[in-house]
């Protein structure tokens, strides 16, 4: 318990530090939000007025204080460019990103683990080569390529899935899954390739160990040896990598999000940065950082469940 509390405390401290760094860095960047709002319709006088109105002329420490104060009281403020309340905006994009991350990770794990195990069991045979080739293909082709291919195949020719758009799961769960399927598959293919290779290499190591030979000598069925004993030992590193990927996917899948008009946290952060929308940058970076750190904590806790040899302290 005290281990978890310690970890949470360090998460909080890191987040505070990240928010400060983000604030300073975004303020160093040239240009500001008033300029972006008015675009090529701006003239110096109106621009100065808008800057005053948005509070951009206040000292930095005051602007930062305003944001921290707001965060602590649950008022995340409004986006300066889009005029939307940040809290609900992030909540909506969080759901979109969450859906796509969970679905793509599920697709990836469900395919990668059996494929990896299969390759390891048939090491250096045709099965292994087939699995390696498949995963190499997945790793080396970028997700926007898969995205466009999937749109052409499943949306344009077969018309099985919609080509784009987001539906909120609370409104229509099945619709939400249908809309999220193609983007999740596009992401999942790359991930799957990664995780297949990971599973194969850890499994290969495990299968050569002494306890496996002992288990086989005892006459246990091959299925029990591979799936029950070996996989349980091999799965740790795979889970770690998958956990790290969750954080990564959550905040940086802008390409797939924009391709499928399935805009989530990555896209929102990118828009915030492009427009120098400081309160929005602050809040999105904060949420993404929190998700990354909490997933890592969760993965560590999961270790205990999977591998009883590990104790937290």
């Amino acid at each position: 318990m005290s281990y978890i509390l310690n970890r949470l405390l360090s998460v909080a401290l890191t987040l505070a530090l990240i928010s400060m760094i983000t604030f300073v860095v975004t303020n160093i960047l040239p240009g500001d939000v008033a300029m972006v709002i008015m675009g090529t319709q701006s003239n110096p006088e109106a621009l100065a007025g808008l800057r005053e109105n948005l509070g951009l002329n206040d000292p930095l420490i005051m602007q930062y204080g305003r944001w921290v104060g707001g965060m602590l009281t649950g008022d995340w403020g409004k986006s300066l460019v889009f005029k939307e309340a940040i809290g609900p905006l992030i909540a909506q994009k969080f759901v979109a990103s969450g859906l796509i991350v969970v679905m793509s990770m599920t697709i990836a794990l469900v395919c990668a683990i059996p494929l990896g195990v299969w390759a390891a069991v048939h090491q250096n045979k045709w099965q292994d080569n087939a699995a390696s080739t498949t995963s190499l293909l997945g790793v080396s082709l970028p997700d926007f390529f898969w995205g466009i291919m999937l749109i052409l195949l499943f949306a344009r020719y077969l018309e099985w899935f919609p080509s784009s758009g987001f539906v909120h799961p609370a409104d229509d769960f099945l619709g939400a899954v249908r809309h999220a399927f193609l983007p999740s598959l596009a992401l999942g293919l790359g991930l799957m390739a990664h995780l297949t290779r990971m599973t194969r290499s850890t499994m290969t190591g495990i299968l050569n160990q002494e306890f496996v030979r002992v288990a086989r000598a005892k006459g246990l069925s091959e299925r029990t040896v591979v799936w029950r004993y070996s996989l349980a030992n091999a799965i740790g590193p795979v889970i770690t990598v998958a956990g790290l990927q969750v954080g990564y996917l959550f905040g940086s899948i802008i390409v797939v999000e924009s391709l499928f008009n399935f805009t989530g946290m990555g896209w929102l952060t990118y828009q915030a940065l492009l427009n120098r929308d400081i309160p929005l940058i602050q809040s999105t970076v904060f949420v993404i950082a929190a998700v990354v750190m909490l997933t890592n904590l969760l993965v560590d806790l999961l270790y205990v469940v999977i591998d009883p040899r590990i104790r937290l302290n």
Partner: protein, 511 residues
């Protein structure tokens, strides 16, 4: 007939070309009902019509707001929310009599107080209104009764009334609604704003009390799909009724297809190449002319716009009275360009120029890459720097830290906005540091010339002056494009004479 001739002679408002067969012919009378699903090419931003400077957001807001006056297809200012208006002989007092029975979406009636509120809001620098400049000369706004507004100017501002005809400066919002306009735009237009799921879609519904008769459509859902391939796929699979901004290189895919109709209107905007007039080499008119001579405008237009435009030496609205049709672009002549550079003291390789271009307009990047070859052939050591939109705005527009660049602007039919803002030494849009006393004098004179013919003659001279001295290089007008299913009717009405585009009031869906 060459495109340029067409420009000079066409009496049409710009031109709207509809091709492909709307279903149509069979369905004679418009029917009400249905929700139009529109694949919008950009993400909408701040929804406040007085503050927003982006074309994409304006496109949507055209359906929500109405301006106090508007224009007919001959570009004369005509009544809209004001049923009549007059101007005093000294050009200082404007009186507007409002139409009675006009309702806003919030249920309130349009009164003179709303107009006063809207105009004063734009005039207040703290609002950050993009049309702030229009109201600069306003001395007072009086409302003797609920239906009358009297605007007094402190000095003559000849284009004042024309500027109010744009659904931006002239848009009237309910009194006191300024603070909520950014999130929930409220106006007197044909559609009511329902909701926005930011970055995904915006929903509008019909306003039954619209003063000019309710729209046919029950509503509009604008899905913001920025990726062109996906937008096009959505149209092909039938998920979308229509898309705007067909990717130029894909135009041919749907143009000849009888399952779809396409609409091209002209002009969407003009593009020009800019010099920083503070950069030493560009202070010499010979150097600027040399660069003009290096560019083959027609080839560049074919290469960068895939032919979706028409070259022009004048940036004035092509069918407006201020368009100088006698003006011609300089033909490409690399040898002459080299000679001019040599005269100015720059031998081959002596002149190093950085061309800053924004990735916000991919065709600008293509243009710069094509021009690079010509500039190098003429012995200029040129390099391209690609900037994001906010970097371009900050470096070029605000800090004026550049040597060459290019940009586009809407071609509004009111020339003062264009010429004074862009070429007067104190103009709000003069990011190129153009400072020419002779030109300033012409522009100031135009502003106080009330006689329209005399005023337009001055603007024609201004265009000639800009071209003769190569203050900038005007390239072309670009087309706007729409692709739609054949059951979308009335698309030829979406572009309005006052410059507002994608107005869906008269659009309907055949079953």
């Amino acid at each position: 007939m060459k495109r340029r001739d067409f420009l000079g002679t066409s009496a049409l408002f710009g031109s709207i070309v509809l091709s492909g067969m709307p279903m149509a012919a069979l369905a004679s009378d418009p029917v009400s009902g249905g929700t139009l699903i529109w694949g919008h090419s950009e993400t909408t931003q701040n929804l406040d019509i007085h503050q927003t400077g982006t074309a994409s957001t304006g496109r949507l807001l055209q359906n929500i707001h109405e301006s106090i006056v508007t224009t007919d297809k001959n570009l004369n200012v005509v009544p809209n929310l004001a049923e009549s208006f007059s101007q005093s002989d000294d050009g200082l007092t404007y009186t507007f009599n409002l139409r009675s029975g006009v309702k806003f979406h919030d249920g309130s009636d349009l009164t003179s107080a709303d107009v006063k509120y809207s105009f004063e809001r734009c005039a207040n620098p703290e609002t950050g209104a993009t049309n702030f400049e229009v109201f600069k000369a306003v001395a007072s706004i009086e409302t003797p009764d609920d239906m009358t507004v009297i605007v007094k100017l402190s000095s003559v501002n000849a284009p004042f009334l024309s500027r109010l005809a744009e659904n931006g400066a002239g848009a009237v919002i309910p009194e006191g609604s300024g603070d909520t306009q950014g999130e929930k735009p409220t106006g007197a237009g044909p559609f009511i704003f329902v909701r926005r799921e930011f970055g995904n879609e915006v929903e509008l519904s019909r306003f039954d009390d619209y003063f000019d008769g309710p729209a046919y459509l029950d509503g509009i859902i604008s899905r913001e799909i920025t990726e062109p391939t996906v937008r096009l796929t959505g149209l092909r699979t039938g998920e979308l009724h229509m898309i705007n901004d067909i990717p130029l290189d894909r135009m041919s895919e749907i143009e000849g297809n009888d399952k779809f109709q396409t609409l091209a209107w002209f002009p969407l905007n003009f593009d020009f190449v800019n010099f920083n007039h503070d950069f030493e080499p560009f202070k010499d008119a010979r150097v600027r002319e040399a660069f003009d001579l290096m560019i083959d405008k027609e080839t560049l237009m074919q290469g960068a716009l895939w032919g979706q435009g028409a070259t022009s030496a004048s940036p004035s609205f092509p069918t407006s009275a201020s368009y100088n049709s006698a003006l011609e672009q300089r033909p490409q002549d690399i040898e002459k360009a080299k000679a001019l550079l040599a005269d100015a003291g720059y031998g081959p390789g002596d002149l190093k120029v950085v061309f800053k271009v924004t990735t916000n307009y991919p065709y600008h990047v293509d243009s710069a890459q094509i021009m690079l070859e010509w500039f190098r052939a003429a012995g200029v050591d040129m390099s391209i720097e690609q900037l994001t939109w906010s970097d371009w705005l900050s470096q070029v527009w605000v800090d004026k830290d550049f040597q060459m660049t290019m940009m586009n602007f809407f071609t509004l039919w009111e020339p003062d906005f264009l010429y004074y803002s862009l070429w007067h030494s104190t103009g709000g849009f003069n990011y190129r540091k153009v400072s020419d006393p002779a030109l300033d004098a012409m522009l100031e004179k135009a502003r106080i010339t009330v006689d329209s013919d005399a005023r337009m003659a001055i603007y024609k001279d201004v265009q000639k002056y800009v071209a003769d001295n190569t203050l900038d290089i005007v390239l072309w007008f670009r087309n706007g494009t729409i692709g739609a299913q054949t059951n979308v009717m009335g698309l030829d009405t979406v572009v309005q004479p006052n410059g507002s585009e994608l107005n869906f009031h008269k659009v309907w869906l055949a079953s």
